[in-house]
């Protein structure tokens, strides 16, 4: 049996960036951590919960609360960490910007996991800019060892300079594994809570002094940063100097090992003295950075230099070695022996047996659609359902539906409902529903309760009855909550019961008052199937009507004449294809417990 990582004090092992951040938190005495799951950041808190009992770690209902709880723990003198995906930092921006003024009593590390290339995100925002706007320190590691070490550096900077520190990761750092040398945990005592009104109550009279301190802090850290090892010059051939940070540094070392490199580890405040030294050292400068021209714009504005950057390195999408090679050494691109082959795309799909499928199938059948939200159910937009038409941010499905009704009335809204998962509803959908009640909306909100935060890999949340460590926790009662918001009509339905699901949709869409439908069935990741049977097609009975194909189930494919059901993919506890077949050509043993 593998030993827990908190029992290992030395050696070198392979860790992902996320696992390395968790390790760094443990080694450097973090006491408390809080987060809301979000790809690519989720495994940070999961790893802490699985491996490092010494850190008290928990899921928050959203990133704002996560950061606020962490702030309170810091005020009481604990070392703390909060992790989120890049757009999560938007949710937490309100506490962040003022926490910058207040500072840190116990060290505060805020991990922002950005997603260049948008592997699992709705935008490509570059949170170095958020860090600069909030006037906090931003650190950027370029592999797992640095991710671990920078947690320690961040805590030290946080306490020495009295500032929150943003540790900016990207997908390629979070989800790449590289070698990490382990060390023991250094226990740091919790300092204890001491009230300090001038420090922590930013009424204008206090906040003006706080702001002066923040500006001086940035000047001080910039000067310190020119001397510390987080920023460094790697002197090579001085005819070419590359200024880079994060994962881009690795691509630069791969394709241009001979060049001089300025590796920026502290992206805010920038180390002006060191940068000036580098500029004077090299003949030509290229900025190699992912997404926005953050280093390029700031350094060009300060020193008014001529340099290449986003004119040759793409601004959109992720970088990789071939892109960087093409930009930096265009003559040396590798020979491609086998050309690209045009193939059908393989987009993600709702799993076989997914509860959401029943809801979207019925909605689509009725000619309805939805304003959507962030989660697996965003896939309701895909064919054959085509039953989701908007996505803005966490919780927005409800506000957007309300706004459409305000603009065009109930008639103009047609058969649109709001589609939101239970975790997203708790995150920031509740306030949208309160708005609908308060302002007289009449639409239908569908809370798709699969008892799991599924898209991020299956995390607990306040409705599931378990906490981050899998221990029992109080269950948030959605019906009572919705009722307390002022909703009078609440329907709970099993989305696999297709006739009932359809009936409930029809009734609630025709109602002249606001209603909430809770579709309730656990995610297939949340439990082991109770039954054993898989669906079988009788080719003699099948009339090739293709109704089963309208489920969009990945287990059902079409062989040209008849459906084929994959025994590898079919989910034993689901019989929706049996329900939709009009001639009973699909059968399945649904015996066993119910």
């Amino acid at each position: 049996m593998r030993k827990k990582l908190n029992t290992i004090d030395e050696g070198t092992i392979l860790l992902s960036g996320n696992e390395a951040v968790a390790r760094g938190a443990w080694e450097h005495g973090v006491h408390f951590a809080s987060a809301y799951p979000g790809t690519p950041s989720t495994e940070i808190l999961e790893t802490i919960a699985e491996e490092y009992d010494e850190i008290d770690a928990q899921w928050a209902p959203n990133e704002k609360v996560g950061l606020e709880v962490v702030a309170g723990a810091s005020f009481a003198g604990a070392r703390v960490l909060s992790a989120m995906k890049h757009v999560g930092l938007n949710v937490a921006a309100d506490p962040l910007f003022t926490l910058s003024y207040i500072g840190a009593t116990g060290g505060i590390v805020i991990v922002s996991a950005d997603d260049p290339g948008m592997h699992s995100s709705q935008n490509e925002q570059d949170n170095r800019l958020m860090g600069k706007a909030a006037k906090v320190v931003v650190l950027e590691p370029s592999d797992s060892q640095e991710a671990k070490d920078m947690v320690g550096e961040a805590l030290k900077i946080s306490e020495d300079f009295d500032t929150p520190v943003l540790l900016r990761l990207t997908t390629r750092i979070c989800h790449s594994k590289s070698m990490v040398t382990l060390g023991p945990r250094k226990e740091v005592p919790v300092k204890g809570y001491v009230g300090d009104i001038k420090k922590r109550v930013p009424i204008p009279a206090h906040a003006r002094a706080m702001h002066s301190r923040v500006e001086q802090r940035l000047v001080d850290i910039s000067a310190w940063g020119s001397e510390c090892s987080l920023n460094r010059i790697e002197e090579g051939d001085t005819s070419l100097g590359i200024i880079t940070s994060g994962i881009s540094y690795q691509y630069v070392k791969e394709v241009s090992p001979e060049a001089s490199v300025l590796k920026i580890g502290i992206a805010n405040p920038l180390p002006w003295n060191l940068i000036e030294k580098f500029i004077n050292m090299v003949d030509r400068i290229i900025f190699v950075e992912e997404n926005d021209p953050y280093l390029e714009e700031n350094i060009k504005a300060r020193f008014l230099i001529e340099a290449d950057g986003k004119n040759i390195v793409p601004l959109e999408g992720e970088l990789n070695p071939q892109i960087v090679r093409k930009a930096v050494h265009p003559g040396t691109t590798k020979e491609i022996t086998f050309s690209e082959i045009q193939l059908p795309a393989r987009p993600p799909a709702l799993c076989a047996g997914c509860p959401h499928r029943g809801a979207f199938y019925c909605l689509s059948k009725l000619g309805g659609s939805s304003t959507g939200d962030i989660g697996c159910y965003t896939l309701g937009l895909m064919p054959p359902h085509n039953a989701l038409e908007t996505t803005v941010c966490m919780g927005a499905s409800i506000g957007v539906l309300a706004g459409i009704e305000k603009a065009v009335g109930r008639e103009g809204m047609g058969k649109l409902v709001a589609a939101i998962g239970e975790s997203t509803f708790v995150h920031s959908g509740i306030t949208g529903l309160i708005d609908m009640v308060y302002n007289g909306n009449t639409g239908t909100v569908m809370i798709m309760d699969n008892s799991l935060t599924a898209m991020t890999g299956g995390q607990e949340n306040p409705t599931t009855g378990k906490n981050l460590r899998g221990e029992p926790a109080p269950v948030l009662d959605l019906e009572k909550l919705v009722n307390a918001c002022g909703v009078k009509h609440i329907r709970v339905v099993d989305p696999h019961d297709l006739p009932e699901m359809e009936k409930v949709f029809k009734e609630e869409m025709n109602r002249d008052e606001l209603s909430v439908i809770i579709t309730r069935r656990p995610c297939i990741m949340a439990y082991k199937p109770i039954r054993k049977g898989i669906a079988v097609v009788d080719p003699e009975k099948c009339i090739s009507c293709k109704l089963c194909m309208k489920l969009g189930c990945p287990a059902i494919s079409w062989d040209g004449e008849k459906p084929e059901i994959s025994k590898h993919l079919c989910w034993p506890d689901c019989n929706m294809c049996v329900q939709v077949c009009p001639v009973d050509a699909i059968s399945k043993d649904m015996g066993g417990q119910t």
Binding site: H175, T337, F338, I556, W558
Partner: protein
């Protein structure tokens, strides 16, 4: 010996690609290499295309393999074996599971599953197709398809058999160890040892 070996493991979500790449990394580590690997989680796990890049050797910088540089591509699904072809080095090898999983775009009639064998022939791709599902079925455990494939490609990589076995022992739960070691052996036999 070449200083860096580049491998891409690809397929579809849920096929055990991450475990396969973990075993490869562990074996490469036991053999004394620096190792980096990279993959993307999240959306791609819902049955979408998934890939894992593994690089090992004396010193590794980029965790991503560069186009035209992969020594080996291991595909857990037939059509996915074609998706990464521009990454293959001139001397590179492609080993693929002879298993077709139709993507949703094909199920909904928006695309047609291609004739993979015809493309392999036309493009002169260095592909070896492996009946890994049948082998796993014979072993009575469909979950070891990925380890059969790892066994098959193990002979193409500069890592001794003992390191592979240790890697599997490290990564697989004790009760499933025997069948996984057997799957590895069966896969390895396909290429003669």
């Amino acid at each position: 010996m070449k200083s860096v070996t580049n491998v891409i493991i690809c397929g579809t979500g849920g096929q055990g690609i991450l475990l396969a790449s973990e075993i490869l990394c562990a074996a490469a580590l036991h053999a004394g290499n620096d190792v980096k690997k990279s993959e993307v989680h999240g959306m791609s796990q819902r049955g979408g295309s998934v890939s894992s890049h593994v690089r090992f050797g004396e010193k590794i910088n980029s965790p991503l393999v560069e186009k035209g540089c992969a020594d080996l591509i291991l595909a857990m699904e037939k059509m996915e074996s074609l998706r990464w072809s521009p990454y293959l080095a001139p001397h590179g090898k492609l080993v693929a599971c002879d298993l077709e999983i139709t993507p949703m775009t094909v199920n909904t009639g928006h695309a047609v599953y291609p004739d993979v064998n015809e493309i392999i022939e036309k493009e002169n791709l260095p592909v070896t197709l492996i009946p890994a599902v049948e082998i796993a079925e014979e072993l009575g455990n469909l979950r070891v398809v990925n380890v059969v494939l790892i066994g098959a490609v193990s002979t193409h990589l500069p890592i001794d058999e003992a390191h592979w076995k240790r890697a599997i022992e490290d990564r697989v739960p004790p009760k499933a160890l025997e069948v996984n070691l057997e799957a590895f052996r069966k896969g390895r036999e396909l290429f003669g040892n």
